[in-house]
Each structure stands twice: as structure tokens, then as C-alpha cells.
Symmetry: C2
């Protein structure tokens, strides 16, 4: 495994970074959960290796916490795989590398909270390398983070976007606006004409700062995640809610499922090409509802979520 | 609307048939629900017309019943649409018609019962016509029905398959075996290596009996639906169940969502091409659950559902 890049010490460093990021984030989530004796849940850790006859080779660790006090389902995966043929969907900007041997590693997470006032969150950081036979490998980076609230708390969206900007600003003033727009465009449910959430940042095919600085930027996004999300959880986790808010949360989670299974390129490609299903689907909510043309009273927080809050706008 | 076929009396007859089939099926479901005063639910009827600026033109009626005594969500839609360009996915066997103006009509239903001993069911019958400019329209038919149980009741699967065979046998002895195999192949979750259910029949691009007999066969499938499904509902609806069965039902419904959003060509194409979202997604369950590598005790009915029951086999 890792034949393309394994002799490169900078790359070994990247793997160590991703593994340590996963450890750091899952520890912080367990701290939010609180002591086990008081209902705080713990992550299960599932180390896996791709079977020898699989098209993808490699290993990873899927960590998942279910039925917690704060999180109903929180999945955080590390994986490091290689394959004989880079799928065309993996790089828009390098058509010459489609079909080349590749290697990919990264961390991906989705957290589904219990309390409908705490937003769902997604974060991903990844590095991809590919090389045509006899040529030097080309490396690029991708990832981002985005927030999917059920109720409109403006200060949460502003805090999250400020943290995204702060993670990127050391690497160039133009990055946050570019990646923010990219995120709005990516996390969009065309069949509903709805944004998935209030966005954040999204980037792909990124190598314009050179290997070292592009990796450093990607690490800065990973490192920025806890500061972007944890204060929001702490602010909302004890906010009271009832059946109505719970019902709305389950209904909105249906949209999350629709986005991930219909539009998300990574999920869709992974499932169709023989990726590890249970690791790919750690993004699924624990429970989701559908209801025909469900409507909430005009002017209610539920009705205004999509019409007023989940709109592309400047959050800074 | 219906410019390709509207002058053809046989086609006007097909529309009348589909509308009357929808009425007949929804009435039978309401009879199963029982009197309104005793918790029996009724269908809402939502007649719609595609907006003038939509790529698809046409009309339809979506009927949906939610929160019933017998059915937690039961959707049954009629639609009759036309469009300027037939999608390539709509006919495998007539590549020369891809991109041609087309017209499609039919009835589609998915019923999600309350009681986990009552299986989920899907049925669809449709007629498609397409014509290159200046040429005669070509017509073909598609559809089928399939059963998705949560618990292994062999006599239900056998009854359903016998009813499928009985609907087809007047049109040729080879049809049931062909359409049964086609169904097993179509309703297969590749990313889980699982069948969606115990199958039934599936056919597409069908015109080999000529227009009149092909339509008659399609009608026979539609007419056979109530006899295939209602006796199963009646046999199971009062069978006791508890939290465990309910939990398993919600978990297995997650598979239904995965199939429909990831693999079902009609759903996927409809959502991506601007079809009517709420009508397409009447197939979604009212509530569905996901849980990481969820396992049930070896030998339990839940563990044996996929390993023993949802296997391709001869049900006659």
C-alpha cells in the first residue's frame, strides 16, 4: 500500500497528521459527551483493511459514536487507500491523470446532534496523488467544512464562517471568498432548489501554493474545525426543545440523506465503485423522516429556515 | 400536452385505464384502513400541472395517505408528461430514439405499512412513446411489482409470485421467468450485495407482442396488483409486534432509501432532470434509521432475513 508516495517523508508526515487529527477531534467530542457514568457516549474504533481482492487497497479506522447525550450519531473516519485507476470524478482539472494509479488519504466526519438547536456538521480534509507510469506523482488537496442548522441562530453561522476565514487567511486573502462560494455551489439540492445548510468552505484540486504550503493550508482547515464547531455545541446543547423541534429535525435530516445519496460525488462514486459501504455511510443520520409537501405555519422558525436563513449570503 | 399520441384512440384509452387503476387501488387501500372514525386514514389528492417554463410538460395526480392505521405512508401517483428530448436512460434498446420528443404516462406506487410483518410494496405500469420528427411514434411499455418484507413469511412471497405469474401467463409462458429474473437483477443493492426484497416482476422496453397485446399485458399486471398484495396485508396486519420489530423495520427502510436514491434509474434521473420532486419521492419511507454495522443475534429472524430469505430463488 502507498507505493506511489511511501518513500516521501512529507507524505508520511501527512498520514501521521490525519491520524492525529482524528484522535484529537474524537477526544473533543467525548469531552462534550461528558463522563460515561452520566450518559456520555464513547466512540467505537473499527480498524479495517481492504480485502486483497478489492479494487481499492489500503486501510483505515472508522470511529463512530451512537446514542450519546450530545450526539445521536457522530462518525469520524480516517482512510488511506490506493487504486489502479483514478476515477474521472476525482479530478476535474487534470484529465490527463484520469485512469492513472492513485493514492488518497484523509479524514472525513459528519456529526448528527440530539438537540435540534445544535447544527449538523461535516468536515473533510484529504490529499490525493496520482502518477502516470514512469512519471513523477502529482499531489493535490481537497476538503472543507460546512454547517447544517435546523434553527436560525445567526451568531452560530457567523462564528463558523469567521473560523473558516481565520483558518485560510494566513495562506491568502482570496481563499475564503473563493472556497465559501464553492461551498455554496456544491452543497445545493438542485431538485429542491435549496442549500443544504449555511455553508462554510469547500475546495478541491488544490495545489496552487506548492506541496508544502497547500498541505499546510489543508492542515489549517483541519486544525480549525474544533474551534469552528465546539463553541456552537456548547452554546446550544442545553437549549430546551420539544416534539415540534424534534419532528422538524427528523424531516430536515431527510434533505441531508437526499443530498448525500443523490448529489454528493464522493458518496455516490464510492458506493457505485466498491468502496467500504459502512464507512462511506457514516454520514447518514440515525433517523430521518419524509412527509409529502410538509409545510409549517407562515412566519414560523421552521418555515423561515429555508426561505430566509439557508440562503447564500455574506456571513462575515 | 400529449401531442405525439393524442389523436390515437387506443392511447386515450390507456390514459383512462391508468387513471381508473389509480382510483381502484386507492379505494382498496382506504377499505383496508377501515372507517375514518376508527383511525382509518384517507388519501389526499393533489392534482398538478407542470409549470409552463419546465422542461417537462403535462399533468398528473399524486395521491398520498400518511399516518394511517395500516399504512404509515402510501403514495400512488398518476402522471402523463411529454418532453422535447427522450433521456438515453429511458430506452436501452432504441438508441436511435434518444433525444427524440417523447410522451410517457403511467401509475406508480409505494406503500409503507405500519406493522413490520406487512411487507412494503412497489408497483408501476407505464407506456412511453417517442418519435423522430416526421416519423411514426414508437410505443413501448414497462413496469412490474415487487415485495420488500421485513420478516420471512414464505407463504406471502409465494402468493405474491404466483399472482405475478398469473397476470402474465395469458400472454406467454416465458414472460414470468424472464421478468422475475429481470426483477432480481434490477432490485439489487450492489454496495450491500443484497436484494431489496423477494422480488416479483420487472420489465422495460416491452413491445414484442404488438401495441394492443403489449398494452393488454401491462394492464394485466396493473389489474393483478390488488390480488397480489391485499391478501398479504389482511393476513399480517393484526400480527403482534414490539419495539424490536419496529426498530428492525426502520433500519431496513434505510436500505429502501439507499436503493431508490443511489440505484433506481427513474428516481435518480427524475431528480437530476427537473421532475416533480415530491411526486418522485412518494417512494420514501415516513421514517428510516441508520446504524453502523448493526447486527442481530445469529439465528434470529432479523439476522436471517438477508442471509436466508432475501435470496434469488424460485418462489413458485
Amino acid at each position: 500500500m502507498g507505493t506511489l508516495l511511501s518513500n516521501n517523508p512529507a507524505v508520511a508526515g501527512a498520514r501521521a497528521y490525519f491520524e492525529q487529527l482524528q484522535a484529537r477531534i474524537t477526544e473533543a467530542v467525548e469531552a462534550l459527551e461528558g463522563p460515561e457514568g452520566q450518559g456520555g457516549a464513547r466512540f467505537r474504533s473499527d480498524a479495517w483493511q481492504r480485502p486483497a481482492d478489492s479494487p481499492l487497497q489500503g486501510d483505515g479506522t472508522t470511529r463512530i459514536l451512537e446514542g450519546g447525550r450530545v450526539f445521536e450519531r457522530a462518525g469520524c473516519g480516517f482512510s488511506h487507500v490506493s487504486g489502479p485507476r483514478l476515477p474521472p470524478s476525482a479530478t476535474e482539472h487534470r484529465p490527463g491523470l484520469a485512469g492513472a494509479p492513485f493514492e488518497a488519504m484523509g479524514v472525513s466526519l459528519v456529526f448528527h446532534p440530539q438537540n435540534p438547536h445544535v447544527p449538523t456538521v461535516h468536515m473533510n480534509v484529504r490529499m490525493i496523488a496520482a502518477a502516470q507510469p514512469g512519471e513523477e506523482p502529482v499531489c493535490w488537496f481537497g476538503g472543507g467544512m460546512d454547517l447544517t442548522p435546523f434553527y436560525a441562530h445567526e451568531e452560530d453561522a457567523r462564528h463558523f464562517h469567521r473560523a473558516c476565514r481565520d483558518a485560510l487567511v494566513p495562506f491568502g486573502d482570496d481563499l475564503y471568498p473563493r472556497f465559501k462560494t464553492w461551498c455554496d455551489e456544491y452543497f445545493y439540492l438542485k431538485h429542491r432548489d435549496e442549500q443544504r445548510g449555511v455553508g462554510g468552505i469547500f475546495f478541491d484540486d488544490f495545489s496552487e501554493l506548492g506541496f508544502d504550503r497547500s498541505l499546510a493550508m489543508t492542515r489549517s482547515v483541519g486544525d480549525g474545525f474544533l474551534g469552528a464547531y465546539v463553541p456552537i455545541v456548547q452554546r446550544r446543547v442545553d437549549q430546551p426543545y420539544g416534539e415540534r423541534e424534534r419532528e422538524f429535525q427528523l424531516y430536515r435530516r431527510g434533505r441531508y440523506v437526499e443530498f448525500n445519496l443523490v448529489w454528493d460525488r464522493g458518496t455516490h462514486f464510492g458506493l457505485q465503485s466498491g468502496g467500504r459501504t459502512e464507512s462511506i455511510l457514516l454520514s447518514m443520520p440515525p433517523l430521518a423522516a419524509w412527509s409529502y409537501q410538509r409545510e409549517w405555519p407562515a412566519g414560523s422558525p421552521e418555515a423561515e429556515l429555508t426561505t430566509r436563513f439557508l440562503q447564500r449570503r455574506d456571513w462575515l
